[in-house]
């Protein structure tokens, strides 16, 4: 069986393409694929159509560096530290990025519908609100972007309950999914611990899937307990061994969020100048994930280690 193991640089060079409709796993400050995002920034890949789900600093950095052509938002925050991601906010307030809004439930159902191969998906959500009355991206602009459907949504009558108004939403065609997991094996089998969030959905829906992992374990070892497996090998194109690859977000059973680091990002993302300095220091000048970890330092990373049996580190106030 051939190995799907790539270096971070090789995986991004081979599987990330400009203009990809991109979905990433995790939830705001949990299991966000920061190592892969940093490498995407270094390699200059751009023009993504963002299907973020509940986004955090991962998407905020791509937005801040101008790599997102259109952003399908439902919620973007480093919750608990930055209540509205600041580069996201700046890009919208200054009219620098095309954006659309769905409710989080609808955004997640759209990704789920994609994973099920549905042609579209009817919901009882967003009805009566500006989520349907206002379109972030107009039909005219949508018609110029191949990867976006021409309609944000379409009202439909429930065929099984005539007279009931439903909202039909499109199913996005995901080009690339990026997921950070606790364990993966060379054949592409993936084990996610803690909540899987929408990660399995995007792994099925996407044409290309990159999985970075805390531990690269053998094909035999990872299958010892199929109860803990999340994604089968056929759904994965590249496996990248990137320990602490979700830093500064959390990774259940491995490490907690790095709150002081998230606070540094909170401050840095307030202005163009400070954000530029931040990504220069932490993304471009480090040059690699290994150098990023060296810069963070062993003590800092050890202090994030979870308490066995708890899944997170204990509060240091």
């Amino acid at each position: 069986m051939s190995s799907k193991v790539y270096s971070l640089q090789e995986a991004v060079a081979k599987f990330v393409e400009d203009g990809d409709q991109l979905a990433m796993g995790g939830f705001t400050t949990n299991r966000k694929p920061y190592a892969v995002v940093s490498e995407i920034l270094r390699q200059g890949k751009t023009d993504f159509i963002g299907q973020p789900g509940p986004g955090g600093g991962d998407w905020d950095m791509l937005i801040g560096e101008g790599r997102v052509k259109a952003y399908i938002n439902c919620y973007t925050a480093n919750s608990g530290v930055t209540n509205v991601s600041r580069r996201f906010r700046d890009a919208i307030e200054k009219g620098k990025m095309l954006f659309e809004d769905y409710s989080q439930d609808v955004a997640m159902l759209m990704l789920h519908a994609s994973s099920l191969g549905f042609p579209f998906f009817p919901v009882r959500l967003m009805i009566g609100t500006d989520l349907v009355n206002k379109w972030g991206i107009s039909r005219e602009v949508r018609e110029t972007i191949d990867k976006l459907p021409n309609e944000k949504f379409v009202y439909m009558d429930n065929p099984f309950n005539p007279g009931e108004k439903l909202v039909a939403v499109p199913t996005p065609k995901i080009d690339l999914a990026i997921i950070h997991a606790q364990k993966a094996s060379p054949d592409g089998t993936v084990s996610i611990e803690g909540n899987e969030f929408h990660d399995v959905d995007i792994a099925i829906a996407a044409k290309k899937v990159i999985v970075s992992c805390e531990e690269l374990v053998s094909n035999e070892v990872i299958r010892r307990d199929p109860n803990v497996l999340s994604i089968p090998s056929m759904c994965v194109d590249a496996v990248v061994h990137a320990p602490y690859g979700a830093h500064p977000s959390q990774c259940y059973n491995y490490y907690d969020y790095d709150n002081p680091f998230l606070k540094v990002y909170d401050q840095a993302s307030k202005t163009d100048e400070d954000f530029d300095a931040f990504v220069k220091e932490w993304v471009y000048e480090t040059g690699s994930h290994e150098a990023y970890l060296d810069k963070l330092g062993a003590t800092r990373l050890i202090n994030l280690k979870v308490v066995p049996g708890l899944g997170y580190a204990q509060c240091k106030a």
Binding site: P54, S79, R89, Q104, N195, H198, Y257, Y312
Partner: protein, 273 residues
């Protein structure tokens, strides 16, 4: 010795929230004050309630205060780790089954007299003065569940017409939800702010003042509300007991993730006998 009589506005709000929750209810919590209130309910007022969060973590029993609804602190010791889509399905099925267990907390930047909430932007949607996160789970929650809305009580936030309707309240009054195509038997029950508690009139569906705190007044609330509000039913709410304040500070949020303990003689509400 620590002082537990110097409760803060935040603690008063958290206690007010906690008192609303009943045994047998399924409570959709977020982080921040609603979580503190819900944790308080689970330990004092309604030990038989169940906590769920919009990320899909069900029947949560966090030991340490989570900062996000996707926090590992919600995962540890929870009853099931679902995806968000199953959470939405559960919420919708509660409505389809005509169950009356769900009660949810949502927040917002602006609110109108009918409890419609904006958590998307201030100003024009395409050229906003201030942009917020967007809906998150709030729209779905406000569609299928009864809600308690958490707000800061300011004139610029309590306004006749909100800039963007993210989460539906009673829409434009009686029958408004049905006309829009929303479940009519769900909707906002209460607004809890740093100044008091508002409810909605059964007939008109308009917000009225139901209660104020020992440290706030009807006048202050009227002054901080950007629309006309009926105050004839307002009563003074009970201050939290020192036992409950001690529980918040020592057990529920000892790390002060959301509730800051006042420094001696600072920030504390002065209680006059």
């Amino acid at each position: 010795m620590s002082d537990y009589t110097n409760y803060t506005k935040q603690e008063m709000q958290a206690v007010t929230i906690g008192r609303q929750i009943k045994d047998g209810q399924v409570v959709i919590v977020g982080t921040g004050l609603p979580l503190i209130g819900a944790a308080l309910a689970k330990s004092v007022y309604a030990p038989g309630c169940n906590l769920i969060v919009e990320s899909g973590l069900m029947d949560c029993a966090p030991i340490e205060v989570p900062r996000s609804v996707g926090d590992c602190r919600f995962m540890a010791h929870c009853g099931s780790q679902w995806t968000n889509t199953r959470f939405v399905g559960f919420e919708a099925n509660e409505w389809l089954h005509d169950s009356n267990r769900l009660i949810a907390f949502i927040g917002g930047a602006q609110i109108d007299p009918y409890g419609n909430v904006n958590s998307t932007c201030i100003g024009d949607y395409h050229n906003p003065k201030t942009r917020f996160t967007g809906s998150g789970g709030a729209n779905g929650i406000a569609t299928f569940s009864n809600t308690i809305i958490m707000m800061q009580h300011q004139k610029r936030r309590f306004i006749e017409k909100i800039d963007y309707l993210t989460s539906p309240g009673w829409m434009d009054g009686p029958g408004g939800r049905e006309r829009a195509g929303l479940p009519g038997n769900r909707g906002p029950q209460m607004v809890v702010t740093d100044l008091g508690v508002m409810k909605f009139d059964e007939e008109t569906k308009r917000m009225y003042l139901a209660g104020y705190y020992p440290f706030s007044s009807v006048e202050e609330i009227v002054e901080s509300t950007g629309f006309e509000i009926d105050v004839t039913k307002a009563v003074e709410l009970e201050a939290p007991t020192p036992e409950v304040i001690k529980l918040i500070r020592e057990v529920i949020d000892p790390g002060q993730a959301f509730i800051k303990v006042p420094k001696p003689n600072k920030e504390a509400i002065q209680i006059t006998a």
